[in-house]
């Protein structure tokens, strides 16, 4: 934390923040217990589906969650289903093939593997498995029939994508799960319930055959306590609204709603009294000017120190006060949206805004934050 960051203010302004809840012992922290296993909010879950409105950072959260789950010697697979190579970009590795590749090492000896699921490859894989039709599958693809099948019946594509994730969850070698957990970077919130609810999706399709049996097997995992669907949001109107809609859709479809991950949370920097004053434009400009002068930010003439009088037309005090007012307005807006999220009554995790953007290093920091808040 930055020196002097007002931790207390943080807490006062945001009584529901996980930090506060944990500091005040309102929720259990997650220390190692005697058996050496940590308590998390999702002990039974092996398939973590991460959705969110576009632009909220769901790929980042999926990647960080995979790292968090892998921490301490676990093996985790993170899959993407939208053919956009977002995972390769975020882990800074070459584009992923339709094969599981190790993309990161987690703290304390864990491993994260990644897979970009391709519906065509998955369909050919199934045809081979059920009908011994690999060569025919290749011919079908040349003909455009695979594209056709997944296009006229979007449910087929979704079954193939979710089916592959389900297979990774169930895969065993010598009676042991190959992966401790699977994380899916899923389609956006607006489509998530439909995407996961494959049984309904294939209702109009073949009543027997590989797709139907696959759909049934997928639902056994996805509609069970093995799965949690987490929604990523920002503290802005549209993403929060979509999160509420998403929770409603998932519940209506009988799918297990997981936590809400609030991304890009900005620290409230003003103490409550100052926050209120800034909102009303009543900050004490004379006091600010005195302070700025005392630390040499401005000269007695009010100009920015070191600017050689070049920026005379800028009123530094007024500009700082204006930035403070905008910050206060933003904090107030975020608080309103936080209240809306609170009404959903889901476990909530917060990730701070990173001014420098997200690189691989930041991914490990986010993973640690998700762990410390009990998501993994």
């Amino acid at each position: 934390m930055t020196p002097g960051a007002p931790v207390l203010v943080d807490l006062l302004l945001d009584p529901r923040s996980p930090t506060l809840r944990r500091t005040l012992d309102l929720v259990p922290t997650t220390p190692d217990d005697d058996s050496g296993t940590r308590r998390t909010d999702w002990p039974s879950v092996r398939l973590h589906v991460v959705s969110g409105k576009g632009g909220t950072g769901k790929t980042t959260v999926a990647a960080a969650l995979a790292l968090a789950l892998a921490t301490g010697g676990k093996k985790v697979l993170v899959v993407e289903v939208e053919a956009r190579q977002g995972l390769a970009q975020i882990f800074d590795v070459p584009p992923l093939p339709y094969a599981e590749r190790r993309v990161a090492v987690a703290p304390e000896g864990g491993e994260v593997f990644a897979l970009a699921i391709d519906p065509e490859e998955a369909l050919i894989e199934y045809l081979e498995m059920f009908y011994n039709l690999r060569r025919a599958g290749t011919a079908l693809r040349k003909m455009g029939a695979i594209d056709f099948a997944t296009t006229v019946a979007p449910g087929v594509r979704d079954v193939l994508l979710t089916g592959k994730a389900k297979e990774a969850v169930r895969r065993k070698v010598d009676g042991k799960n190959v992966y401790d957990a699977v994380v899916m970077d899923a389609p956006p919130t607006g489509r998530i319930a439909r995407f996961l609810n494959v049984n309904t999706e294939v209702a109009g399709l073949a009543r027997t055959g590989p797709i139907r049996s696959q759909a049934d097997a997928v639902m056994e995992v996805i509609a069970s306590r093995l799965t949690a669907v987490h929604l990523v949001t920002l503290l802005e109107e549209m993403p929060v609204q979509e999160t509420s809609d998403g929770v409603r859709d998932l519940l209506a479809a009988g799918l297990p709603v997981g936590g809400v991950v609030v991304n890009q949370v900005r620290r409230p920097l003003l103490a409550p009294a100052a926050q209120a004053k800034a909102l009303r434009g009543r900050l004490d400009l004379a006091a600010i000017e005195r302070d700025l002068l005392s630390v040499g930010v401005i000269t007695p003439s009010g100009a920015l120190a070191g600017s050689h009088g070049m920026v005379l037309d800028t009123d530094v005090v007024a500009a700082l006060a204006e930035e403070g007012a905008e910050h206060a307005e933003r904090v107030a807006l975020e608080q309103r949206e936080r209240d809306n999220l609170q009404a959903l009554e889901r476990p909530t995790y917060e990730i701070p805004y990173l001014a420098d953007g997200v690189d691989v290093g930041a991914l490990y920091d986010i993973a640690e934050q998700l762990r410390s808040q009990g998501m993994a």
């Binding site: 103490a271 920015l304 403070g324 420098d356």
Partner: protein
């Protein structure tokens, strides 16, 4: 001091007012990846153009609830409604695309009632018109074509501003309609449709052992009924539409005309700028007229010369010297802002270095959501000042 000078000092300026005042421009398309403020930008441009005297219709795709309310739009609208509150000689109408209804109306106006009823009840048509990837883009194009024809016939609007669907990739807007058109006009779907069209005789001519195997596998995968639905659908629409592909091509050609202008909207974030970059290259490759880039949500500051390090150090000194906590906090708020602006500038520079001739208008981030016409006006003013 301008936002533009801070974030893209070397790019030429995009003069928004000159664009909006250009009576030769009839269509402005706002494109960009999702979550960059495209819809708000389209609405703000529409209001500003109307305030400046043009008769504008804005086609939005998926506006935020309160933005829609501020334009007087309800969810069920698929027709332009006048927006009250324009100051000046112009007028503003706005609508929200309902893709299923657009598709239904398209069928109803192109087929006799009996045939239209058959198509509208076809299960494959239902999934095609409501949940197909590419349908929203196709229907946005279709609606644009309709609005244009109506504007010319009624002399009602002289500027159409189009928001584009919130797809992951901005390129989808250009590609999806033709992809859908190609698919529906494609060889495979015609082979499947053959028996329904010609009572089986044409089918017998094209049938081969291989093709029989394909349909048999397909039946196993997607079910025989789906295939039958597709066949019926293709047979019933075949003669009506002059070909989906042809229609998509026509709209595509319209977008290449000189009276169309593309505005690429991006936030100064890595993914959004990468998409903007693809899109700019693509517009050039397809000879589509790019007006410029709207760089939205820039973290502006009135005192860029007070750098992050100096501000943070001064804040630390004040905190130690028990100065006013408020001043220290204000300096930290400023330091955060400048740090964000620095990062945004580095990201924007990658774009501008690769696209030196692209004109840019930089728009500062607003503290609150835009929920009314005054807010839209502020965004419009910022766009026009953004150089």
């Amino acid at each position: 001091m301008s936002v533009h000078a801070e974030i893209t000092p070397r790019s030429p300026h995009l003069d928004i007012d000159a664009l909006l005042d250009d009576r030769l421009i009839k269509v402005i398309v706002c494109c960009g990846s999702g979550g960059v403020g495209k819809t708000t930008a389209a609405a703000a441009l529409g209001l500003r153009a109307a305030d400046r005297g043009r008769d504008v219709v804005v086609l939005t795709i998926d506006p935020a609830r309160r933005l829609a309310q501020s334009l007087g739009l309800t969810e069920l609208d698929n027709d332009p409604r006048p927006v009250a509150g324009v100051t000046g000689a112009g007028s503003l109408a706005a609508m929200m695309l309902d893709m299923k209804r657009t598709f239904d109306e398209f069928v109803e106006s192109n087929a006799d009632p009996e045939r239209a009823a058959t198509i509208l009840a076809n299960p494959f048509y239902l999934s095609l018109s409501s949940s197909f990837s590419g349908t929203q883009e196709y229907m946005a194009m279709e609606k644009l074509g309709q609005l244009r024809a109506r504007a010319e016939a009624e002399q009602s609007w002289d500027l159409i501003i189009v928001d584009t669907p919130p797809s992951r990739s901005a390129l989808d807007f250009l590609d999806a309609p033709r992809r859908l058109g190609s698919f529906l006009d494609g060889r495979f779907i015609r082979l499947l449709a053959a028996p329904a069209k010609a009572g089986g005789r044409a089918y017998l001519r094209v049938i081969s052992a291989g093709f029989g195997m394909f349909t048999s596998v397909l039946s196993k995968v997607i079910g025989g009924q789906v295939l039958v639905d597709v066949q019926t659908f293709v047979a019933s629409v075949d003669t009506l539409f002059g070909g989906f592909r042809q229609r998509a091509d026509d709209t595509f050609a319209m977008l290449q005309a000189a009276d169309t202008a593309f505005l690429v909207v991006a936030a100064p974030e890595r993914d959004a700028l990468r998409e903007a970059s693809y899109f700019v290259d693509r517009l050039e490759a397809d000879s589509m007229p790019l007006a410029g880039l709207i760089l939205n949500r820039v973290q502006a500051t009135a005192i860029p010369d007070l750098d992050a390090g100096t501000a943070a150090a001064a804040a630390a000194r004040l905190e130690q010297a028990s100065g006013t906590a408020v001043t220290a906090a204000l300096l930290r708020i400023h330091a955060d802002r400048v740090a964000i602006l620095d990062r945004q500038r580095r990201l924007a520079e990658r774009f501008t270095a690769a696209h030196r001739s692209v004109k840019v208008s930089a728009v500062p981030a607003f503290a609150a959501d835009v929920v009314d016409l005054d807010g839209l006006r502020q965004v419009g003013t910022a766009m026009a000042d953004g150089h």
